[in-house]
């Protein structure tokens, strides 16, 4: 891995490489460059996942000509495709170095934090949404019960916007979650369930199921489950699978066109 990165940087195929290195025992994202080749020795894989593609996106916005290498898990690669489909990045500017993640007996070091079962205590079991991540698991619950449980989850929200801020495919300059016309501002929890439904609608056909939002959510709302659900609808209705193609989703609602959101909620 180190050799590949070194070769890429030396040969000029990329200008910079986004990977990880250990700082005081913590894996921290780091940008390796040709000027500091010796640092490549410190390159390491990381169990903790950061949205490297989001950082790359920011770099490309500053300088569209820069070529960036990316240590990429499967989810990273999916979001790179989505970002390209939405014309946020130029695929030619990104080169990915695949990191072994989704576990299998045949692979070494395969690990993904989002496959860990979240902690569930008795209160969570009786009030929260079962967060196995599979929407089908929830269908066993009667609809009313599902609603009650979602409402319990949404009431915990402290409105940190972390789910949006960490999301590799949330890039709207003018985010619908902050529109005064749509949402009461300055109160927590944010309007239940509107805040979460708006984001869910936006994630339909866009969410790459990386689970970073759920990991960043301080209060443990099973967000990935919510977005899987809406994505499932897009897949069922339009046969579109997020992050698998270079095409935009047939279902698109952007922050810039936020008034659309209300009508799409009525669907």
């Amino acid at each position: 891995m180190k050799d590949i990165v070194r070769t890429w940087l030396e040969s000029g195929r990329i200008d910079l490489f986004l990977g990880y290195r250990l700082v005081d025992g913590h894996p921290i994202p780091h940008c390796f460059s040709k000027e500091r080749l010796e640092e490549v020795e410190q390159l390491t894989e990381s169990l903790a996942r950061y949205p490297l593609e989001k950082i790359a996106h920011q770099m490309l916005q500053k300088d569209p000509a820069v070529r960036i290498g990316l240590m990429a898990r499967d989810c990273t690669q999916r979001s790179v495709r989505v970002l390209a489909a939405w014309n946020q990045i130029d695929m030619d500017r990104i080169r990915v170095l695949t990191m072994s993640c989704c576990p299998s007996d045949a692979k070494d070091k395969a690990f993904c934090s989002y496959l860990q079962e979240p902690e569930t205590g008795p209160v969570r079991k009786s009030n929260g949404m079962p967060s196995t991540g599979d929407p089908d698991d929830c269908r066993v619950l009667p609809a009313e019960e599902r609603l009650r449980r979602w409402l319990y989850e949404f009431q915990k929200c402290i409105k940190c916007y972390g789910c949006r801020d960490i999301c590799p495919v949330c890039f709207c300059k003018d985010c619908g979650l902050e529109h005064e016309d749509l949402m009461d501002k300055g109160v927590v929890p944010p309007e239940v369930p509107l805040f979460h439904l708006i984001r869910a609608v936006h994630m339909a056909g866009r969410c790459v199921d990386c689970g970073l939002c759920e990991e960043a959510c301080p209060v443990g709302i099973p967000l990935r489950l919510l977005y899987r659900k809406v994505n499932g609808i897009v897949t069922d209705r339009f046969g579109y699978r997020v992050g698998q193609t270079k095409d935009q989703s047939p279902f698109n609602v952007l922050g810039e066109f936020s008034p659309l959101e209300l009508s799409s909620l009525d669907d």
């Binding site: 700082v23 005081d24 025992g25 913590h26 902690e119 569930t120 205590g121 008795p122 209160v123 969570r124 929260g128 009431q155 915990k156 402290i158 409105k159 940190c160 916007y161 902050e178 501002k185 300055g186 927590v188 929890p189 301080p218 209060v219 443990g220």
Partner: protein, 536 residues
């Protein structure tokens, strides 16, 4: 905090009083919610219906300023039912018998009358706190910002000791520090009565030890607290004030009084990152640095000393605060030979025993919790294990007192001030942030729907809130988060500064002003009037 944040995962009961944790310490609220979902009991006592109350086993809204009565009421019930930890009391505390006599004045019926909390709720709270062990108490400014602040804190400590909850994992009495480095500022001797490491200025030996390192003997006479300094300014005894990174014109009670004091100074030096209202009054302004612009350390609410690292240079000509201080000392003829913050930290270690074992290398990213006395000391996650710092824990009898100012005909409401989730302190930092400003752009006052109806105030109306000290105009937010008869106002907004209204009456010992309760009136502003403050 006597205990650690990680320790919350071990508590069986969390008692949150006077802290709107999900808004003021959200990442601590995260752990509270996690504990609740794991099955721990949660007791919430706050005059407002805060977000945490939705997840509580018992939540009560007591009348502002009645914390002592509430806590004594709980202790009365605990003793009456024999739920207290008698072994612990015998082995580790003193003063219990006289304290127990005082508790007899707080039968639940009387407490219910004072606090407005139903007797059944009192009983449930007492039973849950006393029987679900270990139990931890968390409190914030809702406890301390009262004329009875010190009594409130003592009452919390009494309750914890009564049930044997001090010095054990998952227990403790845990104040949540409001500002990021309050703990560090205190640890470093930013107080008139103690040198770094809480070593009293009056102690000859302590002063000699500092003299060895500093080369100058620190003065032995106690200095002045902020309210005393302001008084001194009024009387011409304080002639120069050097304010670093603070905006007293936003945070001090009774703003007008402070302004006239500032006028009387010969010299006001302000060191800040923004042109705060205080800086605008200054004679000399030092342009300072923000968090990402310097190296150093902060100490958080669980006594964890953490490394802060420089990521960018300060803007323009602005300088790191430590450089400014060194240059000023130099110009005053006392050169400080520090080339980098780490050099200063090395000196801190020499004079502060509780930091002696820390080095920048050891701090890393995780930090270390003091006391950490030697380089192989792993730090101290829980204080008072085995015994209290001063031997036995002492029960201090405390008695209920009404707030310094109670509602009357002219000012029929109780006004509390505090924070809201998107802003911080006097707003100088958060209001310069686009996203935070977008989240809440204007000042507002919360009023209960019933009161609003009586006064024909609707949500979003412009209203005038007034007290004996002044008046401000702002927007009404009609919500049942507050109790009837109560108003709540965040203090982050200079254009409607809550502290024009608040009462400077302070706790006699801690000198903390009563921000959580003063008498106020509210009226709707009829068209035409501008949102100007009016002096009384």
């Amino acid at each position: 905090m006597t205990n650690s944040l990680a320790d919350m995962d071990r508590s069986e009961c969390l008692f949150v009083i006077g802290s709107n944790t999900t808004e003021t310490h959200p990442m601590i609220a995260k752990r509270i919610l996690r504990a609740v979902e794991r099955g721990a009991a949660l007791i919430v006592a706050d005059p407002r219906h805060i977000q945490l109350a939705r997840f509580a086993t018992v939540a009560v809204r007591h009348r502002p300023g009645t914390d002592v009565a509430l806590l004594c009421g709980l202790m009365h019930l605990i003793v009456r039912n024999n739920w207290h930890d008698q072994d612990y009391i015998r082995q580790r505390t003193e003063g219990f018998s006289s304290f127990e006599r005082v508790l007899q004045n707080y039968p639940p019926e009387r407490v219910a009358q004072i606090t407005g909390v139903a007797v059944e709720d009192l009983v449930r709270m007492a039973e849950i706190y006393a029987t679900r062990s270990p139990a931890a108490i968390y409190y914030a400014m809702g406890i301390t910002q009262h004329t009875t602040g010190v009594d409130n804190v003592k009452a919390c400590a009494n309750l914890a000791m009564l049930c044997g909850n001090v010095g054990i994992p998952g227990g403790g009495v845990n104040p949540l520090r409001g500002q990021n480095n309050v703990q560090g500022a205190c640890d470093m001797g930013g107080l008139p009565n103690v040198l770094p490491g809480y070593q009293p200025v009056g102690d000859e030996q302590v002063r000699s030890r500092f003299e060895e390192v500093w080369g100058t003997r620190p003065p032995g006479q106690m200095g002045k607290t902020i309210p005393e300094m302001i008084q001194g300014m009024q009387e011409g005894r304080i002639r120069a004030l050097y304010v670093i990174g603070e905006n007293p014109r936003g945070s001090e009670p009774h703003l007008r009084h402070l302004d006239s004091a500032l006028e009387k100074l010969d010299l006001l030096i302000v060191q800040d990152i923004f042109a705060t209202p205080t800086a605008q009054k200054a004679d000399v302004v030092f342009a300072a640095s923000a968090v990402a612009e310097k190296d150093g350390t902060f100490t958080n609410t669980e006594r964890r000393c953490l490394r802060v690292r420089k990521a960018v240079d300060p803007p323009g000509e602005a300088l790191e605060d430590w450089r400014i201080l060194c240059r000023l000392a130099d110009a005053l003829g006392a050169p400080q030979n520090f080339e980098k913050p780490e050099d200063i930290f090395e000196e801190i270690r020499r004079v502060t025993p509780s930091y002696a074992g820390m080095t920048y290398a050891r701090l890393g990213i995780d930090g270390l919790q003091w006391p950490c006395r030697t380089e192989d000391d792993p730090g101290t996650p829980i204080l008072h294990v085995g015994s209290f710092a001063r031997g036995r824990g002492i029960f201090h009898p405390v008695a209920h007192k009404e707030p310094a100012e109670c509602p009357d005909d002219a000012y029929p409401f109780i006004l509390s001030t505090g924070r809201m989730f998107a802003h911080y302190h006097t707003g100088t930092m958060t209001r310069a942030s686009t996203h935070l400003d977008r989240e809440q752009h204007t000042a507002y006052v919360e009023i209960h729907p019933k009161d609003a109806q009586t006064l024909s105030i609707e949500d979003g109306d412009q209203v005038r809130v007034s007290t004996r000290r002044g008046a401000v105009a702002l927007e009404a937010r009609v919500t049942n988060r507050v109790r009837p008869g109560m108003l709540f106002m965040p203090f982050h907004f200079q254009e409607a500064a809550a502290n024009i209204l608040t009462n400077p009456a302070a706790d006699p010992v801690a000198k903390i002003p009563e921000y959580k309760a003063c008498a106020a009136a509210i009226e709707k502003i009829m068209g035409g009037e501008t949102a100007q403050e009016r002096s009384v």
